[in-house]
């Protein structure tokens, strides 16, 4: 069961909120590989947001290799098939964030600990809370 909350008062734009929650539910194991996401029109209709907003979220998910569009026009979760890119290659995207942290004076161990902590809360929240965990 995919659960999505859109808060129109939030500073985050709705497309980003939808994107984040789908990613978070995949990471929490609520959605697993090969799950079919609802059509973007259904998502837009039920959440009462613009159709293009949902399309933008889905587009972003596709670009990041989290979902893909099958031949019969269904959006399928593909995250988990990380064979195309190695972990270090993936994290090179976060170069900026890591340099930022180092520039602020955080130590290497502190950064690794912080990441470990995030990973721990993830596994604790498995099948748990569906909102921005």
């Amino acid at each position: 069961m995919l659960t999505i909350t859109v808060d129109h008062n939030s500073k985050e734009p709705p497309y980003k909120q939808i994107y984040d929650q789908i990613v978070s539910q995949i990471s929490a194991g609520v959605l697993v590989m090969d799950d079919v996401l609802p059509p973007s029109r259904t998502l837009a209709g039920v959440l009462d947001v613009n159709f293009h907003t949902v399309n933008r979220s889905y587009q972003m998910l596709r670009e990041n290799g989290i979902i893909s569009l099958t031949r019969n026009r269904k959006y399928v979760v593909t995250a988990g098939r990380h064979d195309e890119r190695s972990v270090s290659e993936f994290f090179s995207r976060e170069q900026e964030l890591i340099s930022d942290a180092l520039a602020r004076g955080f130590g290497e161990d502190e950064i690794i600990d912080a990441i470990k902590k995030i990973l721990k809360t993830r596994s604790r929240n498995k099948k748990g809370d569906c909102r921005n965990v």
Partner: protein, 369 residues
Amino acid sequence: MFSPSALEVMEMLLVAAIGIILSIIPYVTEKSIIFGVRTPAEFRSTAPVRKAQRTYLIAVLLITVLSEVLIFTVVYRYYLLLAVYPLFVVLMAFFVYLPEHYAIAKRKRDERWVERASQTVTAQFVTAETAQFPWVYAVPGLLVLIALFVIGILYYPSIPSIFPTHFGSNGVPNQYSAKSIGSVFLVGFISIATTALMLIIAYAISRTSFRVDNPSRESMERGEIFRYRMTAMLLLIPVFINTTLLLSSLQIWGIFKPGNYLLPLVLAPVFAMLVLIVVVSYLTGQLGSNIRKPRILAASGNTAGMKQESMMDDDLYWRGGVVYVNRKDPRWLVPKRFGVGYTLNFGHPGTIALITLPFVIILIAIFLH
């Protein structure tokens, strides 16, 4: 002396069930819906709201009691009146509802509730993997259906060429038909059609995504239980209808001669079905709002720390607070606003087709006759 026929007793049972279901609606809707109006938390259980709910309950129960008296004394004489009377009860209850709806809607405008309403929408979406379809509930109904056809085929040779197809309440036949597959299995074919219809609707419901009352985990849990129970209940309904149809088939074929017990025997399954619908609706509530203790609450004690925001205002899609019209929504089924269960999206082109189809078929049938 007045002796009620099957039809009249069925009518009285039906009206009683409809009356009870309609009267308790204010107590089984989503917590944020008051007479079809999305209401912020602080305005929900105020004295005027509770008084309006009580007034509605009492008025609809009075209408029901009055209707039973009317059916018993006058209406039973006219078949046309009997046919439309349940609809008339619904209409009368609607006219009790409507002033209450407009009163709340007016307060909402005057006191600018919308400005205080939250701006969040939370919804549950069915994904292919998570869609659970409790097939097992359909098994009893299908078994009865199979039994009807197996018995019918076995007894077909021994059914006389002219056989009774309609009986009075005392079990004495008052109408006969010539033997053919169509006449022998007419009731069986009705049984197939109703079973198929229920299975299709149950499947559609299990696949329908919907918004929940608020973004709490408890609300999600309630929504999931609601979806499951509605699907299971619809899958169970054929067993009751098919048992009634099986009994009437057995009687038509001369296998089963209940005599004076015909009426209670044939009506018992229908009565059981009505009780089931009332009980499940009350114990579940719309989107699970009446479930005493969802599993998640039992497991974690409480939902402390979870913000119980309400839903963003969506009154503009609900005409009169009951008719859903939203062209942008691709669903044709949506959870009801005032009641337990589902209603159609009248902004969906398929709904318009679905509603006009029976009339078109009737017109074609008349034309071809």
